[in-house]
Assembly symmetry: C2
Homo-oligomer: 252 residues x 2
């Protein structure tokens, strides 16, 4: 493997290096393969270690590389498409739901969630923690925030703790007529508890999906779901078309 | 402003600092306010500069802080909700579209896009560059990839260069019957040309929205839109409910 000198270009050096590295990944490396160490890579491309690290960080952000302690830097497999959208239309916990209910507590919602729910900042809500597993790997952690007014008969139920309690809260929520939902997606960093559930370090980049569930003339529940940004691509079907159904469409 | 010593906690130091800083932003700072310099902040919280920087990076990722050269670190305004979804249902460039067509070229599509379009890797496509502006600020840059077979009569048109050419290509595309679309969202880093359009440095974190447009029994076009991840929150209406319509729903 020879030395590849970077030409002088007006864009930042690490950015040009990222492009060169990206092409090398396509042509010279297979998924799962371990990259040479930083010293060798920096020497090959004739750049400083700091420049190399910036370029590697870019490629990690784009999901091209994975960096793991004790393993080093490997070529990442393509991101997994995770359906978020019409596949999940309905109350959380409805049949066919991709989520596993783990536990439920009563606690104060974050200020932003309380505002979305239209409740007072200090009003406790039921918080149902859920996880989503795809291909044996945890891809998302979710907190569903449900005001007491959305599950008025819950206290009458002799609900135990843990998953059974979590399922009982969601079952009560589903007694309300479902009136629709909307979602937003934004960049975030994993909170400590989410990071544990997702097998990441706190602060790892995540995609935060906020879903508002409407029922009984208002916002009946708000879910904050945290998806791994390194391994996931969120797919949204629109107009009844799901991303997984389309190979047939291309057959013509 | 006194010295706030961090308690010893099992989670990483920078993560705990991020939480403490986040609370300080809520209680002590206003949007747009410039934070004290890194040396003063590190001294106040009794941490090393490296730890402080990691915590500031987290808060930047979450959209709480903005760091700009020559200004320093400021408290960010809330992210802007940008509608992606049913609001844009239809061909790119349809009436009411939020995008501005800028120019059009013929070039080879990236390998991943060629695969989505079901065309050969070296088959040239029309690439229409568009930008999206919200509140006077560029929030997204888009490349719509259109195979020649989707716009068969385009050569018959005496289309000039620049925006007029871009609009002509999209107008031709709209002559095909629209059969639906789907989308995916993932984390990426801004390419040099997108970074310029979005007033960011190359490599800045972006949300990449890939939209497939279906028509004539196949994938007629693929758009790769790059949204600023620091200032944008992507909103998706589902079930006919748009995020902007809901204050009325909460009135009951």
């Amino acid at each position: 493997m020879g030395t590849t000198q970077l030409e002088s270009v007006p864009e930042p050096k690490y950015w040009h290096l990222r492009t060169v590295l990206s092409e090398a990944l396509d042509s010279e490396f297979a998924v799962g393969q371990v990259l040479p160490n930083e010293r060798d890579l920096a020497a090959r491309f004739g750049v400083a270690r700091a420049t190399l690290r910036q370029a590697l960080e870019q490629l990690e952000l784009e999901g091209r590389l994975q960096r793991r302690r004790g393993v080093g830097t490997t070529v990442a497999p393509p991101r997994v498409g995770v359906a978020v959208g019409s596949a999940e239309l309905g109350w959380p916990g409805a049949p066919g739901d991709a989520w596993q209910a783990e536990e439920s507590d009563r606690a104060t919602a974050p200020a932003a969630v309380a505002e979305l729910l239209g409740i007072a900042k200090d009003e406790p809500v039921h918080i149902v923690r859920r996880t989503r597993v795809t291909g044996g790997q945890p891809v998302a952690a979710d907190l569903v925030h449900i005001p007491a007014s959305s599950v008025p008969d819950l206290t009458a139920i002799d609900a135990p703790a843990g998953p059974a309690r979590a399922r009982a809260v969601l079952r009560e929520l589903r007694r309300t007529e479902f009136e629709g939902q909307d979602r937003s997606v934004e960049l975030g960093s994993a909170r400590a508890d989410d990071a544990r559930a997702l097998d990441r370090l706190p602060g790892a980049p995540v995609l935060v999906v906020t879903t508002r569930y409407f029922g009984a003339g208002g916002t009946a529940a708000v879910s904050l779901a945290t998806y791994r940004a390194d391994t996931c691509r969120l797919t949204f079907g629109a107009d009844g078309v799901e991303i997984h159904h389309t190979p047939e469409r291309q057959a013509s």
